[in-house]
């Protein structure tokens, strides 16, 4: 049992404090501060992401053995790759998925 506030809550609070500071700091530092906020947001989402199941390694193996003349198999593999990438984007950059 972790102590509370837990890692999620601490990261959220730290990021909120950082974002609130950006407007009051020298513009030269905005880019760096936004990067810090972005890194914290990614880390926060990664904590909540489903546990790694090794699906990427299985897909990598499917790419290697998939018959390139079998269009149905290619489409099925492509669909699985899209799903894998969507899951990664949900952590790294969910805004990118908006409208897709």
């Amino acid at each position: 049992m972790p102590d509370h506030p837990d890692a999620r809550a601490l990261l959220d609070a730290a990021r909120d404090a950082l974002v609130a500071l950006i407007g009051d700091t020298d513009r030269r530092h905005h880019y760096t501060l936004r990067m810090v906020a972005s890194a914290m947001a990614i880390a926060r989402r990664e904590i909540d992401a489903p546990a790694h199941t090794g699906s990427d390694a299985l897909l990598w193996q499917r790419v290697r053995i998939c018959d390139t003349d079998d269009v149905a198999a290619q489409k099925s593999l492509h669909t699985a790759l899209v799903a894998e990438t969507r899951a990664r984007l949900a952590v790294s950059n969910p805004k990118f998925l908006a409208g897709r």
Partner: protein, 348 residues
């Protein structure tokens, strides 16, 4: 006064540097009134010097650009003497470039640098792609024609011997290099990146059978072009140029990763691919159509992904604790998504 690699703005305004500059500019005297570092340039640093040049061929100039290496280095980046030779060759071929002024090869006091004329205009991708709601057709036609002038530089070329022999299968060599980086990443991190494997295989299955070879810029995109209102004013950053398939540059310019605020406009976020090719074909005497570029757009996305892996590797195993490098590694899923969009459209 002595400066070393990574000299800063203060070094470039020193009297010692001004005295060193005078013979380079064939001037009787040079005064440097100010120095401002230009934005961007993680691999190279660019400074604008406000100068007073007495006598000689450059006496009319009031501003010149000094380009030198940044403290960090990328293996694929050419040294300043080679980049200067490329700039000169491009100027002679009629490519829109800053006028090359002089080269200093580096010594015990000053790092290697090149000097060129200052060209007014914008380079920022977000600014340029937001500047107009309508496609910027004339500008993109000019960008296409300008690229055709780059590709008119052919081997053998007497002043570009340092580029080496042209590759027989340039794209095979590129893909082999990308695969090496991807496999290194997988071995180091255990992160399989199946989309990169998929894309590598897609590219290998559709390799072009015969390839023309010409000078390719290898970073011809919005961000490396100076645009003065609606006029293409200059092509920058020749540090990655080499012999290759000209379609590589067209694909890079049209890759989804370089459209900034306008992902709907495939030619650099400025206009349509047909507009780019209209300008290119007219100047090159070629007959490319948009579908010809699909392969090269996919290759461009993969190249960007490999660069992102290399940046992340600098953070992971190179000891460079840069947050920017680390976050570049987290861009991979976006690039992979775009690869899947491009390659998925080709599945029957």
């Amino acid at each position: 006064m002595s400066a070393v690699a990574g000299a800063d703005a203060a070094s470039w305004t020193s009297p010692a540097f001004a005295a060193m500059l005078a013979p380079l500019l064939a001037a009787s005297r040079v005064a440097i009134e100010s120095c401002e570092r230009l934005a961007g340039g993680a691999i190279q640093q660019n400074f604008v010097l406000a100068v007073d040049v007495r006598d000689g061929p450059w006496s009319a100039l009031t501003r010149i650009v000094l380009r030198t290496s940044a403290p960090t280095h990328v293996a694929a980046s050419r040294p300043r003497d080679e980049e200067y030779a490329l700039l000169v060759a491009a100027a002679v071929a009629g490519v829109a470039v800053p006028r090359p002024i002089a080269l200093h090869r580096g010594d015990a006091h000053w790092p290697a640098f090149m000097l060129m004329t200052h060209v007014a205009g914008d380079t920022a991708g977000r600014v340029l792609t937001r500047a107009s709601a309508a496609p910027r057709v004339r500008l993109v036609e000019a960008i296409g024609a300008n690229l055709a002038h780059v590709h008119a530089i052919l081997t053998p070329h007497p002043s570009l011997a340092f580029l080496g022999e042209p590759p027989l299968r340039p794209t095979v060599e590129l893909i082999d290099g990308y695969r090496t980086t991807i496999e290194h990443w997988r071995a180091l991190t255990g992160d399989a990146r199946p989309v990169l494997a998929w894309t590598l295989r897609w590219l290998e299955l559709q390799l072009p059978p015969l390839e023309p070879v010409a000078l390719v810029h290898r970073d011809y995109r919005v961000g490396n072009l100076i645009v003065d209102v609606d006029r293409l004013a200059a092509t920058l950053d020749w540090e990655f140029a080499g012999w290759g398939n000209p379609l590589e540059d067209l694909g890079w310019f049209c890759a989804p990763c370089w459209r900034f605020a306008r992902p709907d406009l495939a030619a650099g976020g400025l206009a349509d691919i047909d507009d780019l090719l209209r300008g290119y074909n007219a100047a090159a005497g070629s007959a490319h159509v948009a579908a010809d570029l699909r392969y090269w757009q996919v290759l461009a996305q993969l190249r960007w992904a490999v660069i992102a892996l290399q940046q992340a590797l600098r953070f992971i195993e190179g000891g460079e604790r840069s947050l920017e490098l680390a976050l570049t590694g987290r861009m991979l899923p976006e690039l992979e998504w775009q690869m899947l969009e491009l390659t998925g459209d080709t599945l029957a």
